[in-house]
Symmetry: C2
Subunit: 450 residues, 2 copies
């Protein structure tokens, strides 16, 4: 069921009606088109602390129009209010802010810029992880950035997004990869999020094919979000192995043929699934995407044992068992990337989904708990938590609930499978080991949370 | 502006209409009445792991009707489906669950009980903090409890609540205090929350006056939530010192007279406020409640420097400066309790509140960062984050927004100042040092989150 409202709201008549009636006015989001080279098509403005100068050193690779505001940044033209161009991307380095009084720099920096944003502008605020700071007041000031950035994300209009990246000192050399994602349409449907970047020794060699030379396995790949993930990983240069249940073999093989990929028809809950999978991957694996998942919704009062067991087995037990086998057998290479498809239901809980929410919360817990251990081998593990994504599954939700799911977010619309796929593809990059043990929401800043 | 809808929905005609039209049906919540002795007025049912037996050892102090289900618990009658009484309170010890397959015990335990709950029933699930577990699969299973309990909290009707308490081994002796709060109407407006209990050597001596012998300072105490906090701390036996700005002196002195409390008229943002306060508290302090706070809402594009500065100064800087002065001077005694009034805006962010959300997020960060340091002196520091609370402030919100704020929560209504006050009073107890560095939401499980 396509989102016809967004077509209407962006039509000539619709725009007037929506404005006159005060209805939600979702903007048609820009998405990344295959073959595009520059992450930012428009002006990028840098400001704030010393990371702005660091970013300026590679900013010409992001766009050919780089400006600074509020402080001199080498290699950038000064942006002057009332004269500078409209802005497509903003980065403010707030990492030096240690005292409450210094937080006013946020207002001073952003205020003149907010009326000069292009449609679908992307804002990144850089800070520090509060838990890494010794001074409680500095930690408090840095934590304040989170309330600020989530609020600003709720204030932006026209498809704009805001993220807060907490950057460790030894993670600065991974900023390019993070900004190529968060300043570009690859992160179109992500807003109001907070991520922590720590040291990572791997790096992308060719930004036009960041996954070149990597081998990726995607489960549940025959359709929907799984197929979008496979296509996006392939676009980024990865060799792909598609996995789905034997019943989906027709779709799976058609996709495999289209992508020049291998396919494996296997029930991941079968008793010997782990052994079979290891055997079928003699050359090993760099990227493991656990996308396969099912819903069997019932309130707990009406939940059958079968519904409970099936969801926990597919969504949580299989990823645990398979990942362990791939790790123990050495199939998953050092510096590998594990990505678990969770859900905002796993964060906020959801009526009728005690089983599903438990399984998805369990995946987030798995990423958090496993990350420090796998980090010793350079392997990262993260969860991606989609919100309302337009798929066959959500097309079957009753109208009123579907509309609520779409509109109850800062971007006022559902996301596309591609939005989830872009997040997975970014986390799959060699340099994205800078993120581990975290949950990245792809939800348009849905109001739902914990 | 009282919540007339809740009166309507609970009237004879209203109940029929609400049912027929599928409108929200908020239940009138039970609140704690002064003079009440038993936390649970009705049947308490225990089950699950070994903590059930531990709780049974003091459960007779909570209620005179204690049952067990699913496993034998010494001193408890067995509850039999179809025969046992309706239940007012449930505790399930899920702390032994280490594998995905064991999670089905949640369904098995709860399912027969859910149709036998009294109105305003309170459910507590006990688990372990995932970050304290070495086995990633056990951490994953324990993290799954979070998705389960938040979902179950969304499914309960008739004012029921669900919390997940993650209990360290050496925190078991503090369970009575936590259960006296979370199984009683003192936590009427708290649901879907996760708290971690760690070791604490202090304890409550007299449960009818848990704050006897403690001296508490409450800022912003003249009216609203601050006044409710002062009254509740006084009810629980604390000596009270009320603080508010000089302009509020009339209200402040009237409340002081009523509670037999001292009052201090002081602008907490004054240059010498810290020195003045220390001088006025020669006998020291056990409980420090930073309730004073202001809003000055504007989108960031329209935010004045004065609005920004005022909110950050009152809400974040003053608590930092005053707490530090009270600590450094030894005014705040060892084993003291610091409670910071935050907001769900500090968690989720809010449109028009970049300043307020930053200040409230900063308070949450302050509690997180300071807790380990203050813990060396036995001092705890926590944030309480109210959602939509019925006060003079929320009475001025436009109708549609006010209705949304009330209904967009699992309990379908706003909370009362007393609900926030009860949370503060619990965290002020000697034994509540078992909780530190955390944010406790008092929001009826508002859908809003991060």
């Amino acid at each position: 069921m396509p989102d016809r409202y967004i077509d209407f709201a962006n039509s000539t008549i619709g725009q007037r009606l929506v404005g006159a009636l005060g209805l939600p006015a979702p903007t048609r989001l820009e998405r990344w088109q295959a073959g595009r080279l520059r992450p930012v098509e428009g002006a990028l403005l840098l400001g704030g602390g010393p990371l702005a100068a660091h970013i300026a050193s590679f900013a010409q690779r992001l766009t050919d129009a780089v400006y600074s505001y509020g402080s001199e940044v080498p290699g950038c033209s000064s942006w002057i209010p009332g004269h500078g161009p409209r802005l497509k991307a903003l980065v403010f380095d707030a990492s030096p802010l240690e005292q409450v009084d210094q937080l006013k720099q946020l207002r001073e920096f952003f205020q003149p810029l907010l009326r000069n944003l292009e449609s679908c502008a992307h804002v990144v605020i850089l800070g520090r992880a509060p838990q890494g700071l010794r001074d409680p007041f500095a930690a408090s000031a840095q934590r304040a950035l989170e309330g600020f950035s989530r609020s600003l994300a709720k204030e932006l209009r026209n498809g704009g997004t805001v993220q807060l990246l907490q950057v460790d000192d030894d993670a600065q050399d991974q900023l390019e990869g993070a900004l190529r994602f968060f300043l570009s349409p690859k992160s179109a449907y992500i807003s109001g999020q907070v991520l922590h970047l720590s040291a990572c020794t791997s790096r992308v060699l060719d930004w036009s094919r960041p996954l070149a030379g990597r081998k990726a396995l995607v489960t549940g790949a025959a359709r929907g979000i799984g197929a979008a993930i496979a296509e996006t990983l392939a676009r980024d240069g990865s060799e792909i192995i598609l996995l789905d249940v034997p019943q989906a073999r027709t779709d799976l093989e058609a996709l495999a043929a289209r992508l020049g990929a291998r396919s494996i028809a296997l029930d991941i809950c079968a008793e010997d699934a782990a052994r079979q999978l290891v055997e079928q991957l003699p050359d090993g694996l760099d990227v493991l995407v656990h996308n396969a998942g099912i819903t069997r919704d019932k309130t707990l009062a009406n939940m059958t044992p079968e519904f409970w067991d099936a969801v926990l087995a597919v969504n949580l037990n299989a990823p645990q068992v398979l990942t362990k086998a791939l790790l123990d057998s050495g199939t998953l290479h050092d510096h590998g990337r594990v990505i678990l498809l969770a859900s905002i239901s796993g964060i906020a809980g959801n009526r009728g989904q005690t089983n599903y929410a438990a399984s998805k919360a369990g995946l987030i817990g798995l990423a958090q708990a496993w990350a420090p251990l796998l980090g010793e081998r350079g392997i990262s593990i993260n969860a991606v938590a989609p919100g309302f994504i337009e798929t066959q599954m959500t097309a079957h939700i009753p109208f009123a609930l579907r509309e609520a799911g779409r509109r109850m977010s800062s971007l006022g619309q559902g996301g596309l499978p591609q939005d989830v796929a872009e997040a997975v593809a970014w986390l799959a990059q060699p340099g994205s080991g800078t993120v581990s043990g975290q949950a990245l929401r792809v939800c348009g800043q849905s109001v739902l949370g914990a």
